[in-house]
């Protein structure tokens, strides 16, 4: 773990991993979306609207994945005090929030023709909206603490506390009667026909790679910011 916590080593790793993830992700996303939008057969009940699956599901997965990344990085920061963990958590917030918003928007567009409503206050939709608000709160808190040159401790605690919403989102359709259907994919089982499942899994993998690439790029940018600031401060000291 300490080997990866070294910023120099991290930058060396990230400099080739970032473009690899971004390009790989883009290629997979392009393949899966062309496949999903043009070549997948219509669903028996939903017809053509099933195609929104290939955006909605990866977005939901990464919306929750983003907060999981924040929570794990925050835990690592709180216990081992690795500065790179704080950076990883900060860098995951905006992409996670974007995917959560995409999930809510596509879900709403999908809900109108299939359920007959843009929005209902059932367990799944409500807990996902709470996640969006948690992201907004986290981003504001992390920005404020960074501006004051404060430690990452308080955003880290917020990131851990907010993680309680993740299992609630996941279980919401099992614990409570909801309009949203129960999970289609569970461990070792899928209620999604292979004709939909294969492009869906490619889309999930592709968007995940893109997410990883964006997080790495943001971490590099944050690191460069810190270094530039430190250099300026040193120059100012020398001049004085």
């Amino acid at each position: 773990m300490h080997a990866f916590a070294n910023p120099t080593r991290f930058l060396k790793l990230a400099s080739w991993l970032t473009p690899l993830l971004l390009v790989g992700g883009l290629v997979l996303v392009a393949i899966s979306l062309v496949w999903g939008l043009f070549y997948v057969p219509p669903d028996r009940l939903m017809g053509e609207t099933v195609r929104i699956l290939f955006i909605h599901v990866p977005a939901a997965w990464l919306g929750m994945g983003g907060w999981s990344a924040i929570a794990i990085s925050s835990l690592v920061y709180l216990v081992w005090k690795h500065p790179l963990a704080a950076l990883a958590a900060r860098a995951s917030a905006v992409p996670g929030m974007v995917f959560t918003a995409v999930c809510l928007a596509t879900g709403s567009i999908w809900g109108r023709p299939t359920w007959g409503s843009w929005w209902v206050w059932d367990g799944r939709l409500t807990s996902m909206l709470v996640l969006l608000f948690l992201y907004a709160g986290y981003i504001a808190l992390a920005q404020a603490s960074a501006r004051d040159g404060g430690s990452y401790k308080i955003p880290a605690i917020f990131g851990l506390v907010g993680a309680i919403n993740i299992p609630i989102i996941n279980r919401s359709v099992v614990w409570w009667n909801s309009l949203h259907q129960p999970p289609s994919i569970t461990v070792g089982k899928s209620a999604i026909d292979p004709a939909f499942l294969v492009p869906l899994l490619i889309a999930v993998l592709g968007f995940s790679l893109l997410f990883g690439g964006v997080v790495l790029a943001r971490m590099r940018a944050l690191l460069a910011d810190f270094q530039a600031e430190a250099r300026l401060r040193r120059k100012a000291m020398e001049a004085a």
């Binding site: 709180l78 209902v120 206050w121 309009l179 026909d193 292979p194 004709a195």
Partner: protein
């Protein structure tokens, strides 16, 4: 700070954070458990039969549309159907308005409305509930064997 001391502080933090997480998860589970009957989006037919809601009280009913129960009334815009839990409980429903595309027999439905004096649920809004299965149109009529074969053909050249 000596090495052993640093290690100690690290372990202390790990224990503290773990305890905090356990307390947090416990609190979350307790809260969800407390909400188990309050956070439902709708009530099931057997709950309606066991404890009928007061006449006129706004409530949501959710279940399956019973097979062969959908009937269009004489005015042409009102439908009557029965919501069931696939067991004993059956609740008759009346709805006037445009039906969602996914509203079919043996499929999930959530109705927003209230009971009338005759024990009929009068729905003001009707939502179709989709199940977790995604099946292509062409595959629905096929036998299992044909479907598996076609699925195999569609996924050829992937690996």
């Amino acid at each position: 700070m000596s090495e052993s001391k640093g290690l100690k502080a690290k372990h202390q933090r790990l224990v503290l954070v773990s305890l905090a997480l356990i307390a947090l998860v416990g609190a979350g589970l307790l809260a969800s458990w407390g909400l188990r009957n309050q956070a439902n989006y709708f009530y099931l037919p057997d709950q309606f039969v066991a404890a009928p809601p007061p006449v006129g009280q706004a409530i949501r009913l959710g279940g399956m549309v019973a097979e062969g129960s959908i009937k269009t009334l004489e005015d042409g815009v009102t439908v009557s159907f029965i919501v069931t839990d696939q067991k004993e409980a059956r609740v008759p429903v009346l709805y006037t308005g445009i039906l969602p595309d996914l509203f079919v027999e043996n499929s999930g439905v959530v109705a927003d409305g209230s009971m009338d004096a005759k024990g009929v649920f009068v729905a003001e809004e009707l939502l179709a509930k989709h199940d977790e299965n995604y099946v292509p149109k062409e595959l629905e009529e096929m036998s299992q064997h044909q479907a598996a074969k076609m699925a195999q053909e569609t996924t050829v050249g992937l690996d």
